[in-house]
Symmetry: C2
Subunit: 491 residues, 2 copies
Amino acid sequence: MDIKKVKRSEDYSAWYNNLVKNADLAEHSDVKGCMVIKPYGYAIWEKMQAELDRRFKETGHQNAYFPLFIPKSFFTKEASHVEGFAKECAVVTHYRLKVDEITKEIVVDPEAKLEEELIVRPTSETIIWNTYRSWIQSYRDLPVLLNQWANVVRWEMRTRLFLRTTEFLWQEGHTAHATADEAIAETKQMLDVYADFAENILAVPVIKGVKSENERFAGAIETYCIEGLMQDGKALQMGTSHFLGQNFAKAFDVKYVTKENSREYVWATSWGVSTRLMGALIMSHSDDEGLILPPRLAPIQVVIIPIFRKPEEKIAVMEKAEAYTALLKKQGISVKLDDRDYQSPGFKFAEYELKGVPVRIAIGPRDVQNETVEVARRDTKEKQVMSAADLEHKIPHLLEQIQTNIYQRALDFRSENMYAADTWDEFMDILENKAGFISAHWDGTAETELKIKDLSKATIRCIPLNNHKEAGKCILTGKPSTQRVLFARAY
Amino acid sequence: MDIKKVKRSEDYSAWYNNLVKNADLAEHSDVKGCMVIKPYGYAIWEKMQAELDRRFKETGHQNAYFPLFIPKSFFTKEASHVEGFAKECAVVTHYRLKVDEITKEIVVDPEAKLEEELIVRPTSETIIWNTYRSWIQSYRDLPVLLNQWANVVRWEMRTRLFLRTTEFLWQEGHTAHATADEAIAETKQMLDVYADFAENILAVPVIKGVKSENERFAGAIETYCIEGLMQDGKALQMGTSHFLGQNFAKAFDVKYVTKENSREYVWATSWGVSTRLMGALIMSHSDDEGLILPPRLAPIQVVIIPIFRKPEEKIAVMEKAEAYTALLKKQGISVKLDDRDYQSPGFKFAEYELKGVPVRIAIGPRDVQNETVEVARRDTKEKQVMSAADLEHKIPHLLEQIQTNIYQRALDFRSENMYAADTWDEFMDILENKAGFISAHWDGTAETELKIKDLSKATIRCIPLNNHKEAGKCILTGKPSTQRVLFARAY
């Protein structure tokens, strides 16, 4: 399967699948719905983790680790949570295998049946709030500001690499507070952390908002989200931050003694982003030649490719290539010198384009003579001849330019695909013929939202924060509305 | 429960459990056999991870991620592996829950039974080698040098925090090579990485060796290990590195085309360390007052405790405390200024002793006058008055001294508890009355080793690398032996 065989304009979905596979990011495993994250894909995820983890710690959070398994009964304690999560999940029923005496095959030992089934965590609110009960006694124990990096499992029938898989990797923050105000401030703070990360590291512009009731997290009072727009005009929810009120504290009886010596239920938040961000990254910047990585996440920021024919050329070219590699590494740049002698420069050029390496430096015999190199940027494909003496200060600057440029490009794309619709016909016309975000009036009811979804496959992605209030009529029912909300078809 | 209520000399096991709980490292969860790693414990684990991960990358390895679930049939493909691992494990049999129509309770949906059960990974050789089949075609694809940070599950009936839990965290390296020599070199290299990490970071001296056949990893040709000696004279296996030969390549049909164009099976290694290292850390250095952390792993390296009575004292003391905190942070030291006003200095002293903070700095009104501080080391409990002007250069040096001292102390302890036994009576006498490592002759058979284990509860911890050859007689059977091996009772 060759990446070039499918263009984005022909079949976006097939193009995506090909790219994820060909750029060595991930692949389907032989375990239904579960992916293998390949080293190159995982290296990008590790860089995301490092950037997020640093931001979590700077805002006062610590990491901890809670069990993979959750007793089935825990899910029944929070009424709406059970609706949302105790459905499609992996259920552990036994704890032993044995060799069948007759068939000699390995079978589940019926004598090793668990008294209570264990669920592989789809999210950890229940097990964590069950733990917080013994950790939180007094106002002095608050706030509890924890995060967990973990794998979670939600059984999925139709999967797509990174976007929807049965097992995925994520982080889940779970905080406990003395007051509602403090918990709401935390919820918003973490939304800002996610938005900052998305825009400055992923180079993906996002819209911050709150979810409608239909799209709210099961167990939340309010769900905040960041939404990105992919190249095919579909939206992608990139992160959520939930104000959980006292729902989980009540479900798991977590109370604290206030300064005034009364006993109150604790206030909660939870927030998470996942390997889904890899999908956002891919579908925001890539082109028909392959991935385009923002320099701040690129495992290889600069690749150096030596070009030569004769052995004496090789010596001179390699000497320079090695010197420039060392020079750039000293600047803290991640550089790869590709000295494989069994691949042609042309093959290598295509390979690093596919893998989205931001800057390519080629050095041939003439460059050695002239003390120059050829520098190509992945984002614009522009090439320039650069004096070797300039490498040291120009390459770091170029990497920053690329970071800024791909963000700006994604921002321009989103601006161009941001529509307003005032009638149902306009709404459907945009969805069918243009795609993108549509700002439209809605009567505020869950029923209407569901009807709109049934008719158009579009959902309310969010009610943007600080939304402009404006009287209008619902595009479907014509009933009065106080504000426009943001619709889109979404992943 | 107060840590001081149990001394090491009275009940080592109860002392350990108390310490893990009271120092906020970990606790049992409500899920049988699974632990919660608390923030302070997890911060130490994160520091271990960072040190290990850096060493893995420096030796050319990359991280990747493979599925949590392994189809049952995969375990049957490697004959000895199935014996070792397809026994006590978590078995996923269903993928959906539903509300029972009559009882209204949440039950497993019998219609959602998996065709083939999935095992929660106890180790990942099978799923990884099943993946390598499509990744490895030619000698140019070799070596494959991967590592995975993951959670694994081995159902345990009797658990101890960090030492033996149903779920634990670990890293597992899985490499593929063109030749046996290369794979053996990799196996030994990773053993050296583990030993370097154990001695220089954990400050725990280890003995490198190979396991006897009985103790070998299920599926390995040779298992290398590092063994530490805990304060109660019991050994702890701290890490293993396995040469797997072609066993998994044959089981999963992984062949490569050589330079000479023949097709050969690939050679394998795997190697791992786990959260068990937390147990090694605790049982190597702590005392009756609590944890003693090596500075290179301490989440807080220096704690500063202000001491004052009157408000005007507070202002002067806090000003200095803040200045010294900033000064030491600038040196790259992790410093905590404990300014809680509702706890006494005495309470704080005990708390940081319990938590093993290497250096405590106390500042009172007189110190402000004299431009001094009181510096206490956790390892020796020595206190000294230090001129404030000396902090900047003396504290980093003191941290290095503590790191060296606790390693030396552990090394001395091990030397003092290293015995030789030439008869069965000597052997049993040492085990019953002294404990520690015992160097003794063994006839080399698995039967004798098992008999010794039955009679003494001691096992062969390893045959040390570069072991001295020496003719002798087996302590149990009197049969001829060519070398002494290392016995101990072990965790």
